[in-house]
């Protein structure tokens, strides 16, 4: 990763899984990780992406119709 890590938080594990597939199809590298300590979310899974790809990631998720719970940097 060339930039700082950004963590994408979702409202459910299912959204996290679908987001993984959407980002993969959009060519945005993403790694599924357990929810870090200190992050508040109903889901136990989050996605870790390169901070520089955040804009592309958010656009891809919007195109896929996936609701994002938040971004932790």
């Amino acid at each position: 990763m060339s930039g700082a890590e950004a963590i994408l938080v979702f409202s459910s594990n299912a959204d996290a899984m679908i987001a993984t597939k959407a980002l993969k199809d959009a060519g945005v590298p993403a790694k599924m990780i357990p929810k870090p300590a200190g992050v508040t979310s109903p889901a136990n899974l989050c996605l870790s992406i390169d901070g520089a790809a955040e804009t592309r990631a958010l656009s891809a998720l919007k195109d896929a119709g996936i609701a994002l719970g938040g971004v932790v940097k």
Binding site: A14, M17, I33, P34, L45
Partner: protein, 432 residues
Amino acid sequence: MRLSLRTRLLGAITGAVVLIFLCSLIAARVVLGHDLNELGRTEVTNEASAFAGYVDARKQQIALLVTQEAASDALRAAMQSHNTEQLDDQLSDVTDSSGLSFLTVVDLNGRVLGRAHAPATGSLATDPIIQRALNGETPSTLVQLTPAFLQGEGLALQAGSGKGGLAVIAATPVSDTQERTIGAIYGGVLLNHSYDLVDEATRAIGGATALIDGNTIVSSSIQAPDGTRFVDAQVPRAADVVRTNEPYTGADTEGGVTYLAQIAPISDDQGHVLGASWYGIPMAQIGNIEAHTTQALVLWGIVAVVIVLALAIPTVQALSKTLVANSRHVREAAKELGVVVVGSEVSGDHVAATKRVVERSGELLSQVASEQQSEKIGELQRLNSELHGDVTVIETLAQEMSSRMRDAADRVAQLNEVAATLNELVTGEPST
């Protein structure tokens, strides 16, 4: 016993067609029976009137004959000369050529001067017809002739010993050249056991006809069971008709055959009811029409059922096959999904076991790191931490998938039950 959907569908279609057909048949029978009965009543009423017309025509024919003969110079001359032999010959010639049963000539006092087929003896002075003729009338009517009159005219045998008779008659005065009445001529046809009138009418209008004196058939074209004419029989309904002077139209059995008949009163020209005319058509004619129509309806109904089944069977078969095939696919999918669910649970167990191993490995690494510092041990700890994170993710995913698989399996199980019920419905066979 459970019936398959195929059987039930075809049964329902067939039942519906048969039900519609039966309702139509019953309605047709009821309407047809009613209409035919009404048509038959109209028919017998019209034909009975026609038969009455034949009786009237015969009266007019006799009146014409008698008045023509009254104008004969030869008759007048024979009467004035009291030439009985010549009178008898002349009257006999007229009756032979015209079909009259009797033709009699009387003088001004009613004494018989000549008869066609009997000795010219006795007096008819008390006979009301003769009295009217001598008074200048020309009566033309049906009458009941007395046994004594028939005896005198030599017709007792035809009427039946000691019995009176029903006759169509006419009488008219005979005048001399100065138009003075010198006597009367009286002729007619005895209808008892005389069949010209009923046969002529029957040939023209069909059915069967009869003339009834009082309540006894004296002439008819009705055939008795033994093939002879049905005469000299009592007709109870005619007695009612004569008593009430009202016609009867309806069923009447004569000679062993039930007819749709009209029995109408017949009267003399003074309005006295003498008997009845009878006209009828066999009820079997109406029954035959109903039977033929019913047979045709039944035949076409069977044809309709066959056509409907021929169209319905392939459709039902195709529908049944489709349902069975879809049901089988659902059941197969349910089985496959069941395997996936089990596999998911087993995989989850393995992931959990792997996570425990990674956690134990991390604990041991932490212990080693606390005893001796090493770059490689630090690197190993970092890898173990990353591995633990990955295993945690995998475990979470496995749990998520397992949960969703169970939900899906529950849905498919319900679908499987629907498919099994559908299969049982279509095939009629219990699902295994």
